[in-house]
């Protein structure tokens, strides 16, 4: 670990000013950042702790919720409003990491966690995400915990979050404060960037931007399911996960929002899949077709080929449970 400055401001302005300095990074729970700093995969010169900014509250906002950036994953999962109205989010959170990690990890930190690609974590391997232009050792290497959608010839790294998958299905919005004090919000749909030829740039945040909260609109569907497939019963990243938020009207699917983990370079959602489900009567053939549309153009390697049938099976299972 490299020496670094550490500050723990107690007001937003001070935090954002500190976060805008060269080589600065914000820290919430640190469950991912500290590991990567120990490996020197990340080496910030200045670490700015944002856990004293009063961003740790969950507040009602109309029919929706405003979730502070530093609300702990464990607290968010246990919140009665979340459990009642956004069970998909609670389930997704509880499917992630371990109890100890969830006690530390924060909402914004979870959104910003880095990939688990082993070549990204290994400084002796080439990685375009770590060192732009260095090449990608994952390509042609041991590929399993990698993406099949949203990939590029420069990067196939998977976004590992469970929470963010559920948030995508819930149409979450991110509130961001810029260094000048301006506030803006963006859809989670537009928050992440595909790797293309700049895999080191993962989101649309600019230097000094601080996520202050995540807003959930009123739930658009009362049928919510999160299903995660993994190598062991707990403490493993998703091989595939599916978050579904549906509403039924007169035997037809009135609202469908389906998001996926374990397959995309970002928490994945495909509006084509949602669109083809909406207004339709549930059937095997409809759900099979949704699965086919989802994986069109999938970039499959030796070690990830299984994700295509797996995600299709899980999607179909989740949709049938949701409409039942």
């Amino acid at each position: 670990m490299r020496p670094f400055d550490f500050t723990r401001p107690d007001d937003l302005e001070g935090a954002c000013a500190a976060g805008f300095t060269e080589g600065a990074t914000f820290i919430g729970g640190g469950t991912n950042l500290i590991d990567l700093m120990k490996l020197e995969v990340m080496a910030p010169a200045h670490v700015v702790d944002v856990t004293r900014l009063g961003l740790d509250r969950i507040e009602d906002e109309g029919d929706g919720l405003n979730i502070g950036a530093t609300v702990r994953n464990a607290d968010l999962a246990a919140d009665p409003r979340v459990r009642r109205r956004y069970p998909v989010l609670s389930r997704a959170l509880l499917a992630g990491a371990s109890g100890q990690l969830r006690n530390r990890a924060t909402t914004a930190g979870n959104l910003l966690q880095r990939t688990r690609c082993p070549y990204f974590q290994d400084r002796d391997s080439a990685c375009n995400k770590r060192t732009p232009g260095a090449g990608c050792a994952a390509l042609g290497g041991e590929v399993r915990n990698h993406a099949i959608l949203g990939t590029s010839e420069h990067c196939i790294a998977l976004h590992p979050s469970d929470m963010a998958v559920a948030m995508r299905a819930l149409d979450a919005e991110i509130e961001v404060r810029d260094p000048e004090g301006g506030m803006r919000s963006m859809d989670l749909d537009h928050f992440y960037r595909l790797p293309r030829d700049t895999p080191h740039i993962e989101t649309r945040l600019e230097p000094g931007d601080l996520i202050t909260s995540v807003r959930l609109p009123a739930p658009k569907g009362d049928r919510q399911i999160y299903r995660k497939v993994r190598d062991r019963a707990s403490y493993a990243f998703a091989l595939v996960s599916v978050a579904a938020v549906l509403r039924m009207e007169g035997g037809k699917i009135a609202h469908a929002a389906v998001a996926f983990g374990g397959i995309g370079t970002e928490p994945w959602r495909d509006i084509e899949v949602d669109a083809m489900l909406t207004g339709e009567t549930p059937s095997d053939s409809l759900f099979d077709k949704a699965g086919e549309v989802l994986v069109q153009g999938a970039d499959v390697q030796d070690g990830t080929a299984f994700k295509v049938p797996l995600v299709q099976r899980v999607l179909k299972d989740v949709l049938w449970r949701a409409v039942a």
Partner: protein, 724 residues
Amino acid sequence: MSVQLKVDDRDTGEVTQNVLGRDTERRDARQKVTGRATYAAEIRPEGLVHGALVRAPGMGRVELANRAEVEAMPGVLMVLSDARMIRNAAQGAAGEAPVQGVETAAYVGQPVALVVAESFEAAAHAARTLTVTCEGASNEIDPEKVEIAEDDTDETAQGDLEAALREARHEIDRTYTTPSMHSAAMEPHAALAEWDGARLTVRASLQMLRYNRAEIADCLGIDTENVRLLSPFVGGGFGSKLGISAEAVAAALAARELGRPVRVVQHRRSVFEVNTRRSETTQRIRLGADAEGRLDAIGHEALVSNLPEEDFSEPVLQGTHFAYAARNRLLVQRTARIHRPAAGSVRAPGEAVGITAFEIAMDELADEVGIDPVELRLANIPEKDPESDVPFSSHMLAETLHDGAARFGWADRPRAARQRREGEWWIGSGMAACFRVNMMMPAEARVRLTADGAIVETDMTDIGTGSYSILGQIAAEALGLTAEGVEVRLGDTDFPPGSGSGGSFGAASTGTAVWLACAEIRTALAGRMDCEPGELTLREGTVQCGNRSRPLAELLNGETLTGHGEVEPGKAEDKVRQATFGACFAEVAVSDVTGETRLRRMVGSFAAGRILNPRTARSQAQGGMIWGTGMALTEALLHDRRDGHVVNRDLAEYHLPVHADIPEMDIALLEESDPWAGPLHAKGIGELGICGSGAAVINAIHNACGVRVRDLPATPDRVLGGLS
């Protein structure tokens, strides 16, 4: 004076005080859960400095490109790259230096230097800053792609396998693979080295101190007498701490040069590379049987790997040699010399993977013949060792099969695959027999008796297995004391050399040495009572001979009686085949949607001679069964296909089972006494549970959903491929 025993024959004595065999709490339990058990890295002497190992990013000749720059970094004291450093941990019981020299890297991840600094952080950062280049090697890393030398082939043949297979009513010819695996002990390998003139003291995390002491002395070129090793507590070993390790040698070299105590703790990622892995295996198994399932042909051919010059080959066939009768046999072991990290002993080397594959093949044969898998095993239990023709010292496989089947409710299982379903989950049951060789190792111990109680001393280690408890119980039994009346001191080479921990031999070997040391004290007491040792009864501070009784304190008269016990294996090894046996039964649920397997329950029934402490024995059996489950379902060390480096070298990605994977386990330890195992009649229990439990899980998957997994582990993708 000492009492020596070479185990040449059966023992006719009896053990009677009832302290042994009692379920007692572990002596070190409170220390461990309250943090008072101090491990190697927890000692902080005055002037302590910190070392970090530097990793080779490639293979071949090593250059430390920016050495001077790193040496000049703040806090950095030295960059050590010394011809006496070792490339990987020594093999178990080597007693001499492993391959030395780090000027070339034999595998990716090899330590090539040590950076020492005033702080841990500075050392770690400097180690990462050192630019290491490796050139000039294009070493093969795929075991299937190298030619196997004659020296690396071992063959045992009896009868005519091919002919027998041709004539067999039922035949199985299958190939199974198991991946590289790792011990992944919780405590990372660590050492703290300190010199006092010519004398070196190393606090380390090691399993076999008597050998480790000789190994590090040989590495450094100093006299063994000048080395003291201390490992009073070891946070798990499972084979990875059998031999002297890279950080201990490097710490000693740096400490000598700097004249300060040096501590080196391996990074978790380094633990997975520098300390021996379990070799991957490819196993072709051919079985020929008659209409009733009686085996007439057993073929078992294994391909394993190791680095050149490593004197270890995963003994895959070790259990096959004695497991089942068959007149025609061909057992072939081949070792591919490749440049993946070194392979060595990992819990139950040999049977863990060999019996697992074999017991899957037996399940396939049972299907083929159309008989109950338990019946198939029962039909093939040999009368004598199938190869050497000597009798078994004791053999309770049949009893464990019956006991396990009854506990599990085997009779109620689904007979064929895909019979039971709960929602999306296929439910199925599987079983396997367990086999493990029994070993004894030379061991010594000293016992001192005063009126206040006894003190046991040996350099034996307790790697989490219960050595402290059991050795205390043995002395208490022999000297008529309560367990609390005995103090046990371990893990210090100033004490007499014990067996060390490994190969399940610790309790029986070092325990026998303690027993013999006590026998010497008993003889001395009998002398003072003027009677024969056999007439002596010691109980609660009184010494009895016939109808005469005197208080122990009075008899000792303020003196200390010292006994020294020494045991070594003898001719018994040639006269009988000694092994432990068991049976595991598993019930699993397999998702028809995802291919995920969940273990629902597991029963293990084991016979391992006399059980010294049911609590620690049960814990060992359970640990083995959990390990078997991990081997079946989740564990695989992945090697990069281009350079062989270990890709998943942390505990997030190397998937050991977690609590949620493991249901309640029902474990029975059958009553048995093996008189060929020395005066305690006890055999090893530490590794038996892993030698078959994984096969029970794999066989249960087949019974559940009809998918036969032959490439372990049975991750969802591998099961999914077989589901419709």
